[in-house]
């Protein structure tokens, strides 16, 4: 099995007549944090969904640890995890029940004490028995992050991780990303919070209208929307 977390070669995805992604050639190094930047509709979410195996590419190839996520689906999903805009939560289930469900699908070893501890680690300890339909967007995001902790993947795909979070939540994400990085987890993060994300990332990819407009060291990434030729 390849140790390269992600390789995209000539990747393209068309929705109807519009190409959401085209000519994406990308390789992500192990234990790195990569920022995907770009305006709305530039293809960031589509790229993450292709890598997660939720969307089939129209052209080209994507390999997650050397495997096609649409073919070796189970293997790729054991090694990668996506935190999307959506929380994947069931209205009617409490936070603890939601964790119990995820846990029982992932590993049978976690008891309620461990799960309550996990909830406490993201500031939801007091909300363990509250219905998630009453949660704010930030609380839902915090709960969703615990999914990744339970999955313990080698590649984490984060789609707008700072969205809907208060300053404390944003700091939580920063420390969590640092923790994952220290453990050798590879992270690909799509974000509009460029300055905050840049500080966390090693490399960056700037997408414009579905194509890679710039790629390099995160600290040197030009501001999206500026004249890249001039820079």
């Amino acid at each position: 099995m390849s140790s390269t977390p992600l390789v995209c070669a000539g990747l393209g995805r068309r929705f109807g007549t519009k190409w959401a992604l085209a000519h994406i050639d990308l390789s992500v190094a192990p234990a790195s944090v990569t920022l995907l930047a770009g305006a709305n509709g530039s293809g960031k979410t589509t790229l993450l969904r292709i890598v997660a195996g939720l969307v089939r590419p129209t052209l080209g190839q994507v390999l997650v640890f050397g495997q096609d996520p649409r073919i070796a689906t189970s293997y790729c999903r054991q090694r990668s995890s996506l935190v999307s805009h959506r929380g994947f939560l069931y209205p009617g289930l409490t936070a603890l029940e939601t964790l119990r469900l995820w846990s029982s699908l992932l590993t049978p070893d976690n008891g309620d004490n461990e799960l309550l501890e996990l909830l406490g680690s993201v500031g939801l300890g007091d909300e363990a028995h509250s219905d998630t339909s009453r949660f704010s967007a930030g609380m839902r995001k915090r709960l969703t992050l615990l999914r990744v902790r339970l999955e313990n993947p080698d590649l984490v795909l984060l789609d707008e991780p700072f969205a809907a979070l208060d300053p404390a939540g944003q700091v939580l994400i920063e420390s969590w990303v640092g923790e994952l990085k220290a453990r050798g987890t590879t992270i690909i993060m799509a974000s509009h919070a460029i300055e905050r994300a840049k500080a966390l990332c090693d490399s960056a990819v700037l997408l414009e209208q579905g194509q890679i407009a710039w790629m390099g060291e995160a600290a040197k990434m030009p501001t999206p929307g500026t004249d890249l030729e001039a820079q």
């Binding site: 969904r49 997660a52 939720l54 969307v55 089939r56 649409r70 689906t73 189970s74 999903r77 054991q78 995890s81 996506l82 999307s84 959506r86 929380g87 994947f88 939560l89 069931y90 209205p91 009617g92 289930l93 029940e97 469900l101 995820w102 029982s104 699908l105 992932l106 590993t107 049978p108 999914r147 999955e151 313990n152």
Partner: protein, 232 residues
Amino acid sequence: MSRPGLARQSLAILGKDLALEWRNRARVVAVVLFGVLVLLLFSLAFGDKGTQVLQVTAGGCLVIALFLSSTLSLQESFRTEDHDDALEGLLLLPTEPASIFYGKALANTFFLVALAPVLIPVTTLIYQVSLGPTQVLQIAGLWLAAAAGLAAPGTLYAGLTTRLKSQDVLMPLLLFPLEVPVLLATVKAFGLVFDGDPMGQLSSWTQLIVAFDVIYWCLCGVLFRFVVEEAA
């Protein structure tokens, strides 16, 4: 890290569906009321032909009530998965899609079985039929087999049509033809229980229902992966 097996994952999905339905009993109540209404409407249609006609048609009407109620129930079974892309969340986990199918199909079977304690006594009352303990047991067993035969393809098609705006129309159109064998066999079997079985045909019809149950549960479990994964 060892992952839970198919059975354990299916039971987790089943537990989740039962918990959600228990907290929001709207679907169960609506489906039970619908079933009772169907029985009532058929009795009104056949009522003026006399008690004997009512008694003769009781088994068939009971099966039709189960059949129509099942469509209503199955259509609703994926509504909770639509909210917040919960189904996508399950698929993103390293779970077998078959475990989602079996969990949800078991939950749907459970809901259809739960109709029996209401619809069978209502039928005996409205259609003026009397059932002995043996007949009640036979009906209960047949009901379970029929519910399983309706739930498996119903769950598959509910998963297929859940993201479509025209689900309410498409679902019965797709499902009814597939359920005809189970429907026919159940009507025949119920008729034999209600009217008597001098030729000993009941076991043949029961075996036919069970055979379709096995085919549907195996086939739909395999096909479900393509139904949900190819939706993207």
